[in-house]
Symmetry: D2
Subunit: 186 residues, 4 copies
């Protein structure tokens, strides 16, 4: 099965960015599109934090995280001032687009074009603008990390390099037992 070209975003507003973005403009970079609603518990508890972890972990790589506010229920409850305050309080600083309202139906336009089943939905788009992964619900981090790496390595290859490769430095954390420490485990 060949990947399909990712439909262009249809939006009415953008937050956290000076100018509206387009997938066309982002060609050459991997895009992680995160559809959410600010009052969707699974988005707040898991989807948004995961997107923030991805932004932090891959911050030096050719990857753009784009939030897409796809309201398909409680429209009056999730207007722009509420969304703006939500992003501020939750510390979301990647660009977020507001999906354009549907034409006589509650499902907004970009959500419909991607045939999303609900929120959160995560779509991975490669540097050539093709949809390579589409997950409703929550990816586990291991699988998401692997999928992103595949697309990021392709960017490296396209540039004629050998790809960024894994870094050797550690990412150690609390909870380990160190050799020779007085109190060995911490």
């Amino acid at each position: 099965m060949n990947p399909v070209v990712a439909p262009e975003l249809q939006t009415t507003a953008w937050l956290n960015v000076a100018e509206p973005l387009t997938l066309e403009w982002l060609r050459g970079r991997v895009v992680m599109l995160v559809a959410f609603q600010m009052l969707c518990p699974g988005c707040v508890a898991r989807g948004i934090p995961q997107a923030q972890r991805v932004a932090s972990t891959f911050r030096d790589r050719p990857l753009s995280i784009i939030g897409l506010h796809t309201v398909f229920e409680h429209h009056e409850a999730m207007q722009l001032p509420s969304l703006r305050a939500f992003l501020h309080e939750y510390g979301v600083d990647f660009p977020v687009a507001v999906d354009a309202p549907g034409d006589g139906e509650p499902i907004p336009r970009t959500m419909k074009a991607y045939a999303m089943r609900g929120t959160p939905t995560t779509v991975l788009i490669d540097a050539d603008g093709r949809v390579r992964s589409h997950v409703f619900g929550i990816h586990d981090d291991l699988r998401l990390g692997a999928r992103l790496q595949t697309l990021l390595l392709e960017v490296g290859s396209a540039k004629g390099t050998t790809g960024p490769g894994p870094r050797l430095e550690g990412a150690g954390e609390e909870g380990g037992c160190a050799v020779g420490a007085a109190s060995m485990c911490h």
Copy 2:
């Protein structure tokens, strides 16, 4: 910096496997070596569960998870019968080796050969037997997934294929809001 060849394992016993394993024998597969102690809280709470998640997530890929019981403290408390019961109770079913005791020092031999600083330590070895990542403490899952994928894609390439690639099927979970459901969020 060129990756170094992973030192061969020096062991006194193996559990969860019929025959002792060697890195030599595992050449052609990616190896994730997880050094732990059964009484190290960080290993029990985070290192072992992460290794089990990796085993499950990448179970169809050319990846071998090898546990290495590197006891460098409380030796009398973590003998073979205790380790065997530990693996049973925690449902660890990947192969586990017991690191060979050090020669007149508390640090066991494989641990010393790898210059490990403590437990848990995770070492990623590529299909050519070279150390590509060495982390004391806990990797986060996103980064570990990305690093594993890099090594796994190399195996695919070496075989002249295009690599396994990301799968398109979803991995949805609880917590999302679905379009059109009576009770939309669950």
Copy 3:
């Protein structure tokens, strides 16, 4: 120090209840007043879930949980339609009052009368209408359970009974090891 009488609630709307409630009317019952904002991350992640656990754990006891929406920032973002949708999506079914706007200041009236420092804030009021505990941030469950029990036992005593007493039935959960089971731990 003698406990002070809890100031009466000053509200503009009530949700999840047919008629407005007053502390006066709730005299004879213990009241747990939970001040929150729907866009306060600590309230959403910890304060609201704790109030729901309390409602469930003490559901047969003379205890009323009252939510108080004390908006002191981003007022335009947290209007009634947004609050209503929030309560629906998060499954909050205890009565929730909207704190009355301040007179020329952002702090609403009830919040000011209680000298609350922010959200979440939990106030415990005894059956005689006196403030017995006031915590900004999150109580831990052990301490909150103990404080509630003190007030609930007083209700029992005031009625001339010996108090409800602890129940002997268990509340077992997953993760234990049972005697005689084939696979002992689960």
Copy 4:
């Protein structure tokens, strides 16, 4: 139903205490008896940490936490040196008794006398030495806090006092939104 007198502990060793303890000797204090096995995952992940939280939260109250190592499986894997190292690594500093081996059966003596079904099991004993609660698995903290408080208030009453009562000082934590802070939520 009248509470039964708690059977005396039958033990072969004590750790974290200079002299063996008896329930007889602890009369006048509330006792929380926590039966566990060092290789029981539910005990390690939840039972032991809960006992440590109780010890910390109620440290100024007439309450004694007693661990009871009730090994009924993998006996050879959980001998005294292993238990001692386990307590050290997990930072358990309340007194722990080793339950006396059963007479020709795997169930140890105290475990049998209390008719425990497995581990973890938590037994609450009042200041008069009577069993007031017996839970296999994990108590939730709210309920456990309430049950402990009931027994602790009885100690206060028996002494002719009005009981310790809830403290008014807060126990605030991270995650709240404070009035007037530049960055309001943290």
